[in-house]
Amino acid sequence: MSTGTLTPRRPGLRRGRDSYWQLLRAEWTKFRTVRGWVIGMIVAALVMVLIGLFAAGSAHIGCGGGPGNSPALSGAACLPHVPTGPGGEAVTDSFYFVRQPLAGNGSITVRITALTGQYGGGGGPAIPGSALSDMHRGIQPWSKAGIIIADSTKQGSAYAAMMVTGSHGVAMQDDYTQDIAGLPGTVSAASPRWLRLTRSGDTVTGYDSADGTGWTRVGTAHLAGLSATVQVGLLATSPSYMHLTPFFGGSSGQVGPSLATGVFDHVSLSGGRPGGAWTGDNVGNSDAYGSQTSRVETFRQAGGRFTVTGSGDIAPDVTGPASGVPTATIENHLVGTFAGLIAVVVVAAMFMTAEYRRGLIRTTLAATPRRGRVLAAKAFVIGLVAFVTGLVAAAVAVPIGIRLDRGEGQYVLPVTLLTEVRVLAGTAALLAVAAVFAVAVGTMLRRSAAAVAAVIVVIVLPYILGVAGLLPEGAGEWLLRLSPAAAFAIQQSMPQYPQVANVYTPANGYFPLAPWAGFAVLCGYAALALGAAFFLLRRRDA
């Protein structure tokens, strides 16, 4: 072989000022030139999409009971009509409404002396002489009786209400999601509650009083675009009875309809037509009691005393046992995230550990003696690749999954665009930060199997244990607070409402930490690991 070709030439240097950019480019070249890693990321996206869509395809909903036990209808024909509130969220809006119109500004004041209830489906003796068989006496924690100013009787209308509740004292609620506590304690003839609502333009202010003399302002609701003429009156409603016990992998128990009856007197209306008549409306046409419904959900007026009985709730719709109709959330189609995460973690860890295994780390560090920058570039490149992988997978799985759901007759709880973006981009960010975490752990441990196992044990395992409900009550929640798996909260699209009784467990899609707080936990772990990796990489011999 000749050495004639070895005449030196100054190589074509293309020296940017920014050598960090060159480093990023080098690490990107490293990543894209190992086919197995690229395939690994594609596999991650595919398993996320496939598992997410399988979750949609597994719902089979029938309705409209036909002859025998087989449903007459199925699929899209069964898609329930769910009202949405002023904020666009799905709501439950069923109550008995004793009302009359109110033109312009005005105010309503009542005294409530009793709130009682009955429910079906639970244990205990049935009520003798009741219109309904198999009902038991008892009030639900969020049974409601009170006064309301509503834009109209249409479901999902803007409203503000003052109410006494089963076990949460007096509350002012408006537009389904807002809840402000008033006087505590339960209502009785000996301890009645006075409630007042005053409308002034778009503003409705609520007051409560124990004696009708000394009044306390509870809160003020701003109902944008409230009609000039609104409906004002008395309400009674009661959400489903629920008795649930956590059970291996979920919960089991009894759920049944319930009724609440409120007794009102000293009803006074100012600003309305004098002597206006009261009309009873079953808003939401609850037919929980079939042909008996119109007999049990009704009101009686005797002198100045009103007895109003209703069933249902005025509240945001939720997913879980408290939901009136079968509902799905957008994040149902991201259940494959944990599987995609495993693939991403394997690739990310190997992106670093393969260099140690082959001794290539010496070539890398001889080319770039500033070791911290090498780690930063590696973390950035793999984080960006993981982010794009997660974003593509989520942006495919969620819209297609929602479409499949609707085809199956499964109602998907609507969310705002901002929430949807947070869930999709958050899923991508979850994969990205987990990938950075894996690179850092790979740098510390220098062995692929150990690094992959460590990251999966601290992220995926707590997630599965927590979400599958395999741990004792509370333990799963703590895992999802303290472990990096807390970051899966970023996928939760539906908030947890204290004013809606429900089973708010990870198994039902409710995480113990707020979305960004949970994500911050993972970021904290990744930052700590990265710090340790920086320290060790700089200190150790390569």
């Binding site: 070709t5 074509g12 082959r358 010496r362 080319a367 770039t368 011999d541």
Partner: protein, 324 residues
């Protein structure tokens, strides 16, 4: 090209209880090939890793052109190195291996193709590095070392795995690099590999330098003033030469090793005494012998490093036809 040196100054390093470097000091000058020779475990690779800033020394300094390696920006333009030819991601194509290295230095793909041509890897550049023979990996490593067209090259055991043609190529390549004014440091545990390549030798054992000398001076010192004498009249020759002040040793049947007299003087003495002889020649030592000479007294070293002495023994067999 800016002439650049490697200066290694009193390096000390321990790995746990093992002393790897024990006061290693030498300088690699530009324009020549410096052989870095010693048995396995003598500290050659550790020294090279310390020079590259990969391992930290417990004491002492290593400088490239007066600067520590870690302070160099785009270091591959200052020092090209090949530490371990097997350090490759097997599933990455050879050209892509060079490409990421080039990108890390702000170099272009055009430069990658140039060094591929220099290393003679044109036909194999698009194959996966995992399928490369050791010889091809050495060439790939050389290509990587040449990427930045550096004034200093540092190669650890570059002859390993090369076929005879590859060895000839490598020797020519190293000589041409030195001829261009580069400082070239080449380690080997086989003296024979460097016989016709190295201008200067740094011989090490147990973490320090045993000899730091030009190849010519080492050979001269080892050869001494010994003369090889071929004669059938051994006894007479021994007698007259001893009288003349020489020391005579019998090497085999009819060959004597004479020291203490120059070759011309030996011929005069033999002629004066009418002792017949067929050949008188000034002895030329091989590097192998020079090494043996150098370490003959280092019994402690040889006894304490049995693992290190075996490659020397085997190379002695290969090149042992000369001399004795």
């Amino acid at each position: 090209m800016e002439p650049t040196t490697i200066e290694v100054n009193d390096l000390h390093k321990r790995f746990g209880p093992t002393v790897a470097l024990d006061g290693m000091s030498f300088t690699v000058m530009p324009g020549q090939v410096t052989g870095f020779i010693g048995p396995n475990g003598a500290g050659k690779s550790t020294t090279m890793r310390v020079i590259l800033g990969l391992d930290g020394a417990d004491a002492g300094r290593a400088m490239i052109g007066g600067r520590p390696y870690r302070s160099l920006q785009h270091p591959l333009s200052h020092v090209g190195s090949l530490l371990d030819a097997a350090a490759l991601q097997p599933s990455r194509r050879a050209r892509n291996h060079l490409l990421w290295l080039a990108h890390s230095q702000g170099l272009t793909a055009r430069r990658v193709d140039e060094v591929i041509e220099q290393a003679g890897l044109e036909t194999a550049a698009r194959r996966k590095a995992g399928g490369y023979s050791l010889g091809m990996r050495q060439r790939l490593g050389i290509a990587a070392a040449m990427l930045g067209d550096p004034p200093v090259l540092m190669l650890d055991e570059p002859f390993n795995g090369l076929d005879p043609e590859g060895i000839v190529w490598m020797r020519g390549f190293l000589r041409s690099l030195a001829a261009e004014g580069r400082a070239v440091l080449v380690s080997s545990h086989l003296m024979s590999e460097l016989q016709d390549t190295a201008d200067h030798l740094v011989i090490v054992g147990r973490g320090k330098v045993i000899a730091d000398t030009s190849t010519a001076a080492l050979l001269a010192a080892a050869s001494g003033d010994r003369v090889t004498l071929r004669t059938t009249a051994q006894e007479e020759a021994t007698t007259v030469l001893s009288h003349a002040g020489a020391t005579v040793a019998v090497t085999d049947g009819n060959t004597l090793m004479v020291s203490g007299l120059a070759a011309g003087h030996v011929v005069t003495v033999l002629g004066d005494n009418a002792v017949p002889f067929s050949e008188v020649s000034a002895h030329r030592a091989t590097l192998e012998e020079a090494y043996m000479e150098l370490t003959r007294d280092a019994a402690e070293f040889r006894a304490a490093a049995p693992g290190g002495s075996s490659p020397w023994a085997s190379s002695g067999v290969e090149s042992g036809e000369a001399g004795r």
